[in-house]
């Protein structure tokens, strides 16, 4: 089977490549790409004129909810949502029930991800740093690594004890595993449900202080500097956290960080009259934060963009604000919100955009992904994006099992139309039929 993606804008940040050209796929591998591709016989052709052809996107931070919370999401529905979002590799978080703290559960995740009903994307599990995410005893990290984890994390229940965190980092240096750190000093956040500030004071909701995030970022960066452990700071939300990361990087700490789109899209005022669809962790902050987060995205202090895809059933979200869970489903809007807020506004170039959604997250977690270069990924991983397509997001038409998102009804610009992971795993209804010639897909 020979497939040609014809006449698109090829963006491969791994090689700093930005040219108009075509990509040739033979069976499940990219074999060639470039401006003047000479092709004799092809079985199928996708006309990609005015589209971007990019390495499949890589999401370092996804909650698949299985096992334990299959009413929110399953590995099947979550990976289908990922494919529709343009992703070919996603990292799943360990805070399932039970948490991913032993090799058997890692095997389970990988088996499910590879099964035919799943979305066809690679799933790279993140192991639980401590048993049961209890913060008391380390999991058997070597066994987890052997089973296939790419990082460890205690996700939403971060280790408060600095001595234990130091030991955990020493172990991770030895095993060459990065720690993905949710940064929160929980002594400052108990009972909090939104950013501490003018809006929380007005609504009478207990606030989450920005210092809770910044103290934990500082501590984790210092421990990283001291131990040499690679630390990936998850979802930064305050300008202070960014400044600390900037400083610690300049001192040589092996730290990286991610941002989730809601944090550069909305301020805490968006909560309006207690709208719990805007309740995220860390909380939505202020315009000053957004302005400086955008600057940090532009100058590279913020390394990558993660979805923090957090499905919750509507009956769990439609409760009084303080009782509602944190998080939002994001996978199927990541390209659209990122392009709408960052690329079309000039914060990021197209190449930088793809870098932060694909190449850099792959590099941080050392995944075989994030490039179009033949042989560097196990199979061809490609997303074709129409950067200028205007559409209105309807959460009723998503693959994700949960519909908790504040983006419902939002007009967006940019959409992934085709995803390949070995073969075509997703074709959007808005991809014009006239652009395809070849055998009908099942």
């Amino acid at each position: 089977m020979i497939t040609l993606l014809k006449n698109g804008r090829i963006l491969d940040p791994a090689q700093n490549l930005d040219v108009i050209g075509s990509v040739l796929i033979e069976d499940d591998q990219i074999v060639e790409y470039g401006e003047d591709l000479e092709v004799e016989e092809v079985d199928e052709t996708y006309d990609c004129t005015d589209y971007w052809i990019c390495p499949g996107l890589v999401d370092p931070h996804v909650h698949l909810r299985e096992p334990g919370d299959e009413h929110k999401e399953t590995i099947a529905t979550g990976t289908q949502a990922a494919a529709a979002g343009g992703y070919t590799t996603i990292c799943c978080m360990p805070n399932t029930r039970p948490p991913l703290d032993n090799p058997a559960l890692i095997d389970f995740i990988l088996d499910r991800a590879a099964s035919p009903e799943s979305g066809g994307v690679f799933v790279a599990p993140v192991g639980a740093l401590t048993l049961g995410l209890g913060g008391e005893r380390l999991s058997d990290l070597a066994a987890l690594k052997k089973a296939g984890i790419v990082a460890v994390s205690d996700e939403g229940s971060p280790m408060q004890n600095a001595q234990m965190m130091t030991q955990a980092m020493e172990f991770c240096v030895q095993l060459d595993l990065p720690i993905m750190a949710h940064c929160e000093d929980t002594t400052l956040t108990e009972g909090g449900s939104m950013n501490e500030g003018a809006t929380s004071a007005m609504l009478g909701l207990k606030g989450i202080a920005r210092t809770a995030e910044e103290i934990a970022v500082m501590r984790n960066c210092l421990l990283s500097l001291n131990t040499g452990c690679r630390v990936h700071i998850m979802r930064v939300s305050t300008w202070g956290a960014v400044e600390i990361i900037r400083l610690m990087k300049s001192l040589g700490a092996p730290v990286t960080c991610e941002i989730c789109p809601l944090h550069f899209t909305f301020t805490d005022e968006a909560i309006g009259e207690f709208d719990s669809y805007y309740k995220v962790q860390p909380p939505l902050r202020t315009q000053v934060d957004i302005d400086l987060l955008l600057q940090a995205l532009n100058d590279g202090t913020i390394d990558c963009i993660a979805s923090d895809h957090s499905p919750h059933a509507s009956h769990e979200v439609e409760v009084p604000f303080e009782e509602a869970p944190f998080g939002s489903v994001m996978l199927e809007t990541m390209v659209a919100i990122t392009l709408s807020r960052l690329t079309h506004t000039g914060i990021l170039s197209p190449l930088q955009t793809v870098d932060k959604l694909s190449t850099t997250p792959a590099r941080i977690l050392r995944l075989d992904a994030g490039t179009l270069r033949p042989g560097e990924t196990p199979v061809a991983q490609i997303v074709v994006i129409d950067p200028n397509l205007r559409w209105t997001f309807d959460r009723g038409k998503t693959f994700s099992k949960s519909k908790n998102t504040p983006l419902h009804g939002m007009e967006l610009k940019g959409k992934p139309l085709l995803t390949f992971c070995g073969s075509e795993i997703y074709r959007d209804a808005m991809f014009p039929a006239t652009r395809y010639t070849g055998p009908e897909h099942p």
């Binding site: 500030g197 004071a201 007005m202 609504l203 909701l205 604000f321 303080e322 009782e323």
Partner: protein, 305 residues
């Protein structure tokens, strides 16, 4: 769309004026043994998810004068203690054909959520730290009775502003009606950022009370010491108690108010609570008339729609 009373923040000055004026008329009629307009063929649900004797009784009395039937919802032992969500409870009550809901809840915003699903009028009888609109309306009526008007008055709200729904509702009402509002208390009990709340912050009682016409004392809860917001009740009383001594900072004819229940000897002393300047009992009584006005107002809004 049903008309709700979820907070003072969303009301216009005209709406506040209308509600207080109607309450004053009802009060005059009842004191003269004249009939008041009734609300017939309706049943209002009383949903008190948090303990309340005063507000609940006041709403019951208001309904009694209006010949409005009430149906009590007992949260403990109800379907909610069996795990039913607030949304499902409210939907059930909607199809039980209740005409409206009076709701008290310990979580800020819970009545807002209920109003989204109920479809008829919802009156907030106090939600978390957010608002207690009928308390503020009663306080407004009391101030107008004793001072003639609200506009131009200096009002100090003293104590645990951070955790007080009464403070928020009173501050909105008084500032919308043209008073100068002061939020007075220790740094630990006043929100750090008050830029979206009305009022000017004072941490010194003497400065906060200087030249004020009205003092609204807030109840101090003992839990605040466990959180480290206060060292001791004794120290709090020394710094912030409204008493014979500290009243000298205010105007000679200052009015003293308190939403109750009072911690005597902590936020107020007997002189302040029981003296001629005190309007505390008037606040309780006026609470009934403003709740009558509020019930009429939400149902009238429904007919207009």
């Amino acid at each position: 769309m049903a008309r709700n009373l979820l907070g003072i923040r969303q009301l216009s000055t005209d709406e506040i004026g209308e509600l207080i004026k109607t309450a004053a008329e009802y009060k005059a009629r009842i004191e003269a043994n004249k009939p008041v307009p009734e609300i017939k063929n309706k049943v209002i649900g009383m949903l008190f998810f948090e303990n309340s004797t005063r507000t609940r009784m006041s709403f019951e009395q208001a309904a009694h004068y209006l010949k409005l039937k009430t149906a009590n919802f007992v949260a403990s032992g109800s379907s909610m203690s069996k795990g039913e969500t607030l949304k499902d409870t409210v939907l059930t009550l909607r199809y039980e054909r209740l005409s409206g809901l009076v709701m008290r809840h310990r979580q800020s915003g819970a009545p807002t959520l209920a109003a989204r699903f109920f479809g008829g009028p919802v009156l907030n009888a106090g939600d978390g730290r957010h608002e207690h609109p009928t308390q503020a309306l009663g306080d407004g009526l009391t101030i107008i009775e004793r001072k003639g008007q609200i506009e131009g008055l200096k009002v100090a709200i003293v104590g645990d502003v951070e955790h007080s729904r009464v403070a928020r509702s009173d501050a909105w009402l008084l500032s919308k009606c043209g008073a100068e509002v002061r939020l007075v208390g220790p740094r630990t009990l006043i929100p750090q950022n008050t830029s979206l709340l009305p009022g000017t912050v004072f941490h010194e009682l003497s400065a906060g009370l200087a030249d004020v016409d009205v003092i609204i004392c807030l109840r101090l809860q003992r839990e605040r010491m466990e959180e480290g917001s206060l060292s001791s009740l004794n120290e709090y009383a020394k710094l912030y108690q409204v008493n014979r001594e500290t009243l000298r900072y205010a105007k000679p004819d200052v009015l003293i108010m308190h939403p109750g229940p009072i911690n005597r000897g902590i936020e107020v002393d007997d002189t302040a609570a029981d003296g001629e300047s005190s309007a505390i009992t008037a606040q309780v009584e006026n609470g009934i008339f403003v709740r009558m006005a509020a019930l009429h107002w939400v149902f009238a809004g429904e007919h207009q729609a």
